[in-house]
């Protein structure tokens, strides 16, 4: 071929350039450059081979277009993040404690209490993450507060603290880095100066390899052309803009009504369930007992469909309609959660839900006082009154399983998060199997003996629900971020869940779903998803940060027991492990007099960068206008 001839030519005359004194050195340089390029190419090959599931995703892309595939690419990216979080928690927290910490049964906090021993090995208990699962490296409560463990002198509490903070920091860093990279690639942004030409030259999705998808794509291109032509004509008329605006305002109003209605329904149902609880739950059937759960699940299932119907009024480009849909579902979930908490709080006469952690904290302090008192009484009872309390008698050996335990709210919180994740996973899988697979089987095989055509009418095959799945993924990740400080096993569970999810959903999509009617290209940047993820990340890390800074850790469990605040482990490390001048420097650096000016400097630099980027954008627009006018002036 032509390029091969060119290459032979270059190779023949390459050496000739280096004639003269520097010939040998030049030849050597050329050889090194070639070797370096070959190495780079091999490395690229290796990197490409390492990317998992590439073929699966490409196949889905060819059948369903790039918008559905963008969900799977997002899933794969999340899997990468979770692998790193798993590596951190597993390698730096779980493994050292398992290998070098005191074994099971040596301390009260590491042993199943006598009362629970009988049922500790049951499958039901383990599935609920109690019993042996609770008293293991999987949860916060198992870890001992020894400053160093093992012959390596591994600083366990410090490692736990740093891994907790590090996972949050890493997540922030990678989400923001991905957003910045996407923003760079966006380039021109929403430029409409070449609307028709772009539709003409770039609308075909070359990854489509399936005739059915291709037919859908043709239809959508035709519609898109006709729409653009009509819009171009209509943009000269004024009326239709008003109609569209009116319809959009109406649609938003309907959506707000739906949100308000769902909030009120939850409030009403929670109040009713509290009334039932007061009168005794035995008098009521299954529905009354589970009313709140059922209502919340049903709302979560039907409101998004309602939003979908409302959005047909608005007449947006499908990509923009998807964003509105996502935003509304997000508002629905947050609103429901908030209403739920307010309805609960209202009973206790507290109007703000942010007081919830204070309530837990107060209850917990009271509980701790009671337990500590009980423990002193219990110890006294061991001596049976024969020896006075303040003496130096040798301690009596007690089996750790018999020692009374203090409350361990961190483990309880961790358990709740793990249970939530597991039940969420189960729900998703069962929904896929029933909602997609069984429906497809029903439509396929009962079509022969049914009065109307099942495949074209109701229910027909389902389409892949991009917005629902993306939101599910984002909320799930929020749970993981919130809970992984209290349950180091959460990233491991999530890695397993994402791995199986990828295979199950790839199979379900190819087997049970049909391509969407309007096949649209995903926008190259996923910044919308990233922005939501960033918001959820911020919300999820607030509780953990708050507990680290403000709430004293449980006195009887975990790596920080005995300290007044969890972050004291840092000052303890500075005291013991670093030279004294280091501690002094750190003390000066954490002086508010130094930190406040620093924060002020950061705020000012953000303002400055924002201002310069605005001015660059304006300069860009000016240049574009100039180009246009130069182009037009050629006519004159």
């Amino acid at each position: 071929s032509f390029s091969r001839e060119a290459q032979l030519f270059v190779e023949k005359f390459e050496g000739a350039l280096g004639k003269g004194k520097g010939k040998k050195f030049y030849a050597y340089k050329v050889m090194m450059t070639k070797k370096w390029m070959k190495f780079q190419r091999d490395f690229e090959n290796f990197k490409t081979a390492c990317i998992p599931w590439e073929m699966k995703i490409k196949e889905i892309e060819s059948h369903f277009g790039s918008s559905v595939a963008s969900y799977f690419i997002f899933l794969r990216w999340m899997y990468g993040i979770n692998m790193i979080l798993f590596g951190l928690t597993f390698g730096l927290v779980m493994v050292p404690e398992a290998l070098m910490g005191k074994p099971y049964g040596s301390l009260p906090r590491k042993t199943v209490p006598r009362a629970e021993e009988a049922s500790a090995m049951n499958f039901a208990t383990l599935w609920d993450f109690s019993g042996f699962a609770q008293y293991s490296v999987l949860f916060y409560g198992y870890y001992n507060n020894q400053r160093t463990i093992g012959w390596l002198k591994f600083r366990m509490p410090l490692s736990y603290f740093l891994v907790g903070v590090g996972t949050i920091g890493y997540s922030f860093m990678i989400v923001i880095r991905t957003m910045a990279r996407n923003a760079n690639e966006e380039g021109g942004g929403d430029d409409t100066s070449f609307n028709f030409s772009w539709k003409m030259f770039t609308s075909w999705d070359y990854l489509i390899g399936n005739p059915e998808t291709a037919d859908n794509k043709f239809a959508s291109i035709t519609t898109s052309f006709k729409e653009a032509i009509v819009e171009e004509q209509e943009s000269r008329k004024e009326e239709n803009i008003h109609l569209t605006r009116f319809l959009r305002v109406l649609a938003n109003f309907l959506a707000l009504c739906t949100l308000a209605g769902s909030g009120y329904l939850i409030f009403f149902v929670v109040r009713r369930s509290q009334k039932f609880a007061l009168e005794g739950l035995e008098n009521y059937g299954w529905w009354e007992r589970n009313e709140v759960n059922m209502v919340m699940s049903l709302l979560g299932m039907f409101c998004p469909t309602l939003f979908d119907v409302i959005s047909s009024l608005e007449n947006y480009h499908p990509r923009i309609a998807l964003r509105w849909q996502l935003g509304r579902i997000f508002a629905l979930f947050l609103g429901n959660l908030y209403t739920f908490i307010i309805a609960l709080m209202d009973e206790i006469n507290l109007k703000a839900s942010y007081l919830l952690p204070f309530i837990i904290f107060n209850m917990h302090l009271e509980e701790e006082k009671i337990v500590k008192y009980n423990m002193t009484i219990w110890e006294a009872s061991l001596y049976n009154g024969t020896i006075p309390e303040n003496s130096t008698a040798p301690p009596i050996q007690v089996d750790p399983a018999d020692v009374p335990r203090g409350p361990c709210w961190e483990t309880m919180v961790g358990q709740e998060f793990v249970r939530l994740t597991v039940s969420d996973t189960m729900t998703t899988y069962i929904t896929i199997l029933i909602g997609d697979f069984l429906r497809a089987v029903f439509v396929r095989f009962f079509n022969y003996c049914w009065c109307w055509d099942l495949e074209y009418g109701f229910p027909s095959y389902s389409e892949f629900d991009i917005s629902g799945n993306v939101l599910g993924l984002i909320f799930n990740q929020g749970m993981i971020w919130m809970g992984s400080f209290y349950a180091p096993c959460l990233p491991a569970i999530n890695v397993f869940r994402l791995h199986t999810s990828m295979y199950l959903q790839c199979w379900a999509v190819m087997c049970c779903n049909v391509p969407q009617e309007r096949v649209f290209k995903a926008s190259r940047s996923n910044n919308f998803y990233m922005a939501m993820l960033l918001f959820i990340l911020f919300l999820s890390t607030l509780p953990a940060v708050y507990t680290i800074v403000s709430i004293p850790p449980s006195f009887d469990c975990g790596p920080f027991s005995g300290k007044t605040r969890m972050f004291e482990v840092i000052s303890e490390t500075l005291e013991h492990d670093f030279p004294s001048w280091f501690g002094k420097v750190f003390g000066y650096a954490s002086n508010p007099g130094l930190i406040l000016p620093f924060i002020l400097l950061m705020v000012l630099s953000i303002y400055y960068l924002n201002a310069t980027s605005k001015s660059y954008k304006e300069a860009n627009l000016e240049l574009k206008k100039k180009l246009q006018s130069v182009r037009n002036s050629k006519l004159l």
């Binding site: 071929s1 090959n45 030409s197 003409m200 999705d205 070359y206 043709f218």
Partner: protein, 199 residues
């Protein structure tokens, strides 16, 4: 599992192997990675009848066979693509393995936007005269809107569409779009680089 099979082929399982020097050369001359070239080789030899698979590198595949590939079968520009990338001298648009690799290379993610827009221009230029005039644009629109009667645009709509396109892209106002005008328009599109790899 295409990659696993490609790896197995590379390990020396089957008789129809790509010689190592050729593989290295193709890596240097195209935008494709090693796995992609091996996969392309496998797909290409599957298009050949059994007897010719031994020397797949020098065989030519007739156009009708190439068009059985799923990505090309669904593609509205299938005939144009074969015409542009084929180097056959007797006008039958058959493709050799190197033509096939050229095609995949241009469509891959790593190809630069100049290369892509150059070839896109040639694909869209139906009468091969170096510019996109009204007739080319009409044929282009008809390809994109599919074969059915309902999906075609009416004459008035077609007129309007082509008028708008020429207004937007024809800078020197000569009624046709030449290569530099085309590259100017298309390089600013956010979707352009995402033509994707044919697997």
């Amino acid at each position: 599992t295409g990659e696993a099979e490609a790896a197995r082929a590379a390990m020396g399982g089957s008789a129809s192997l790509l010689p190592r020097e050729l593989l290295r050369e193709y890596q240097e001359l195209t935008f494709l990675s090693k796995q992609e070239i091996l996969l392309a080789y496998k797909r290409f030899s599957e298009l050949l009848p059994k007897e010719e698979r031994e020397n797949a590198c020098s065989a030519r595949v007739p156009k009708s066979q190439i068009l059985t590939l799923p990505e090309l079968r669904a593609n509205p520009f299938q005939h144009q693509i074969c015409r542009v990338f084929s180097t056959s001298h007797n006008g039958d648009h058959s493709m050799s393995f190197e033509d096939f690799l050229d095609m995949l290379s241009v469509f891959s993610d790593s190809a630069t936007s100049d290369v892509k827009s150059h070839y896109a221009f040639r694909i869209f230029d139906f009468d091969d005269d170096g510019t996109l005039d009204r007739k080319d644009l009409e044929k282009l629109v008809n390809c994109l809107t599919g074969q059915g009667e309902e999906s075609r645009l009416s004459n008035a709509e077609m007129e309007q569409l082509i008028q708008n396109i020429l207004e937007e892209s024809d800078i020197d106002k000569d009624g046709t779009i030449n290569l530099s005008e085309f590259q100017h328009v298309v390089s600013r599109s956010p979707d352009f680089a995402r033509y994707g790899v044919l697997q």
